[in-house]
Symmetry: C2
Subunit: 236 residues, 2 copies
Amino acid sequence: MVVGLGPGNRENFTPEVLAAIKSAQVVVGYHTYLDLIPDLLQDKEKVATPMRGEVERARQAVELAAAGKTVAVVSSGDPGIYGMAGIIIEVAQGRVPVRVIPGITAASAAAASLGAPLMNDFAVISLSDLLTPWETMLKRIEAAAVGDFVMVLYNPRSYGRPDHIKTAREIMLRYKSPETPVGIVRQARRGPEEKIITTLGDMLSHEIDMLTTVIVGNAQTRVEGDFMVTPRGYRL
Amino acid sequence: MVVGLGPGNRENFTPEVLAAIKSAQVVVGYHTYLDLIPDLLQDKEKVATPMRGEVERARQAVELAAAGKTVAVVSSGDPGIYGMAGIIIEVAQGRVPVRVIPGITAASAAAASLGAPLMNDFAVISLSDLLTPWETMLKRIEAAAVGDFVMVLYNPRSYGRPDHIKTAREIMLRYKSPETPVGIVRQARRGPEEKIITTLGDMLSHEIDMLTTVIVGNAQTRVEGDFMVTPRGYRL
């Protein structure tokens, strides 16, 4: 079972995820995620793995399942969105049954904190190029900007690639106004949450790191009080 | 409070959503959604509204809140994704405080049932043109196809617009191979769920309706046993 803890706060993962973890004999995950649920792990075998150890983590989980254990692989957010679901299915190759149980992804969590930026079509793009070629990422940023999508940026900045967000902004500015509202949410619904609503022109004057999700509006997005709203198009 | 029931199955909405509904004096929603949670509505004032009555529903909810009631507006999926969050904020105009509580959106629910199609960048597009001009939709379908995004189609077909999915497919076929895997999930995680994995070439030979979510792969997406997987790019 590949399960998603959502933002990480206990109030935000589903009863199905809770039941899956409770039913597991072994729980596998990056140690930061296991630390979110210590009370659920009593009397269970735990396999805590380092960041970026995804392939090894998947192999261990599949081996344990093949040996007859009931295994839950936990990640934050939704394991089906940039998460562990794919690598588990790829490593399992049908040798063990796999079940994916969804969680609240960062796009939903950040959007809820910002108000309603995702009321219309949107594109989700990860700015980590550890796994996707940079040229592909550039092509996607441009395509999404041309299509006037609301854009949700995952993994917007890390020590290894501090300039990707700058390049992404430059491409977006070719098609989107500098006044386009931008929401920056750090630790969305996990806390301590930090939320800023700024513009595409000013966004780089705010802190953006790997715990941040960035949402860039489309041509209709506007600021309404403390909220960022992309109108769905209803006549009021 | 604008809350999301997720796919509709009780196992798939979060404790925070449950607590919000329990704390409300009035629950407002399309009657199909209220019918999903009859036991939570005892001793509460209920405002059941017809489909497409979103503006009226929002007005009623805001009026009730302005009169001092604690109001929960329920919808399926995530109220922040093509849901009620935006219209509530627009109608409220700061007169009453608004809180959006996320749910599992159809993209996550359908992806979990299909395996792992959303391991890489994706675009979410609604094919309903009740609210978005058709030309804008065509532009977005083309842009997402040019960017080789995985594409998640919400509201893919209804009686009023049976041909949008055909037009969308024709545009996608200009940029994507007819062998591109396509997942079609009806009533994802609500049940009775129906799931088909087919190709962009063959997709129209399967039933697609308004209860369906369609996920079209990118150039790397493949079928792995019963699953549709978009590799994230790990070296195995």
